[in-house]
């Protein structure tokens, strides 16, 4: 029988790895990810989880260990945040280049300097071109479910890419919520044992990690692109199976809330979506024509789904919890991608960039109302604006 449990986001991530029957865990502790790894190491120590736990001396090594273990056919897990993810940067490209479907939880945290242990999306957004599947959870249940989803999609023979599920530091990593944990048999059905076509095996030797000189490199980069594009269909298929087995339904790429007839639409990712949904509901009661799109899968980017969901709106407010310094008006990366997706559309909404919650600053319902005012005040003839919400002038 599936059971209910009140657990934190970090514990949900650890449970996802445990239920996935992970073989090798390698990690280095960093706030706010630490407890996720502590739970796993306790379960390994007590014999509750039959896996290899490697306490690495850095995140770079943790990722390297996961890649090597994955290359030998093991199912792997790691978790990190912020500077730890930045330190892994080099190995992230190697994981996707070697097509080792490592799964990693990110406890989203700001990047130094100044030092901040608090939440925004700068760390994972900086890795958006590394060839990893990226998903962003809104709550603790979704954290667990996305963990399983990352294994399922990443390990699919049509994909074979590493995958990260991103949960907001503290807002999710340390928040306790009521969660349904499934039966092991359900997870086993959703997630068959990992059996890659090629793996490091002394009885059948192959070489991995070779040189790709200019005669070859482009072809392998294109293979990665094909894998990422194939992931679109696999993400959908996996969500259909997920619903069949677990009875919970998610929109694979974007969740739509009051979008069909809305003049004004917010686009969000992660835990802040709850606050936005709450305010959208209130504004609806007050008669405003407003809706919300929450992006769940960011890589591969759901540009077609987004076009379909927002092209009927007058103004779209794209919420970024990170900054692309020096981009158009130094907007956020999500804004750039959504704008780019709309370029081909004949009928397209005006767009506004709302940068908020940087370095863990709280986003309150009144701030969301302020965002809505910005959307309402958009002038047809004016070029787009980038608004910082909650900033002291």
């Amino acid at each position: 029988m599936p059971k209910q449990a009140v657990i934190s986001g970090n514990m949900a991530a650890a449970y996802a790895a445990k239920y996935a029957r992970v073989d090798v865990i390698a990690a280095y502790p960093i706030t706010p990810q630490t407890t996720a790894i502590e739970y796993l190491s306790q379960w390994v120590a007590s014999g509750e989880l039959d896996a290899e736990f490697v306490p690495a001396e850095s995140e770079h090594s943790a990722m390297t260990i996961c890649i090597a273990a994955s290359a030998s056919g093991a199912r792997t897990f790691t978790a990190t945040a912020s500077q730890g993810l930045a330190l892994m940067h080099e190995m992230l490209y190697i994981a996707s280049g070697l097509r080792t479907p490592v799964v990693m939880m990110i406890g989203n945290r700001s990047l130094s300097s100044p030092l901040s242990i608090w939440n925004d999306h700068q760390d994972s957004m900086a890795e958006r071109d590394a060839g990893w599947i990226q998903m962003y959870a809104e709550n603790v249940q979704e954290t667990f479910d996305m963990g399983l989803m990352c294994y399922r999609v990443g390990e699919d023979s049509r994909v074979m890419l590493p995958a990260m599920f991103c949960i907001d530091g503290f807002f999710l990593t340390h928040t306790y919520q009521n969660v349904v944990l499934p039966d092991q048999e359900q997870v086993d059905e959703f997630l068959p044992p990992y059996s890659p076509k090629y793996r490091l095996d002394p009885s059948n030797p192959i070489a991995m990690g070779t040189v790709g000189d200019p005669r070859w490199y482009m072809e392998f980069a294109k293979q990665k692109v094909e894998a990422m594009e194939a992931a679109r269909g696999v993400v959908e298929e996996a969500h259909r199976d997920f619903e069949k087995i677990f009875g919970r339904r998610y929109d694979p790429f974007i969740e739509r809330f009051h979008c069909n007839d809305a003049d004004y639409i917010f686009i969000t990712m992660g835990s802040v979506s709850g606050t936005f949904r709450h305010v959208v509901r209130e504004l609806r009661k007050e008669g405003a024509s407003v809706g919300l799109v929450r992006i769940r899968t960011f890589r591969p980017f759901p540009y077609e789904e987004l076009r379909e969901a927002i092209s009927g709106a007058k103004v779209v407010g794209i919420v970024d919890r990170s900054i692309s310094f020096g981009a158009m008006k130094s907007c956020g990366p999500l804004f750039l991608e959504v704008r780019a997706a709309l370029y081909e559309q004949e009928k397209k909404p005006k767009t506004v960039n709302l940068i908020l919650g940087i370095g863990g600053r709280d986003t309150t319902p009144s701030m969301v109302r302020e965002c809505f005012k910005k959307l309402e005040s958009v002038d047809e003839r004016r070029e787009f604006d980038v608004f910082w919400i909650g900033l002291r002038e």
Binding site: G97, L98, R99, M160, K197, Y198, P205, I206, A207, M208, T210, V211, G212, W216, M218, E219, F220, K222, Q223, E226
Partner: protein, 98 residues
């Protein structure tokens, strides 16, 4: 063996080499510009070149150490380190330096 000029759909994934022993087919000595030439009289078989050659291509013969030219890349480490100055780096035929 991977076909020269193969497209991305034909190539194995992730630039792996899916069969063992292909280094025997890929003679990397073709990169070489200088070739080490051993003076058999001077060689004392001290093994220093054998120890230091980064390609592992020093071969022990009865009276000296010789070079496996299929894989020697011509780096010249052996000539530099030989305490008996028994190795000379000679420009390969057809190669030139500016």
């Amino acid at each position: 063996m991977i076909r020269e000029g193969a497209g991305f759909r034909e190539l194995p994934p992730a630039a792996i080499v899916p069969e063992p022993g292909t280094s025997l087919k890929n003679k990397t000595g073709s990169w070489r510009i200088f070739r080490p030439v051993v003076d058999r009289e001077k060689c004392s078989k001290c093994r220093i070149c054998w120890l230091l050659c980064p390609e592992g291509c020093k071969i022990e013969l009865e009276d000296c150490f010789e070079t496996d030219l299929d894989y020697c890349k011509g780096c010249g480490i052996c000539a530099q380190e030989c305490p008996y100055k028994a190795i000379e780096m000679v420009l390969e035929e057809g190669s030139s330096i500016a």
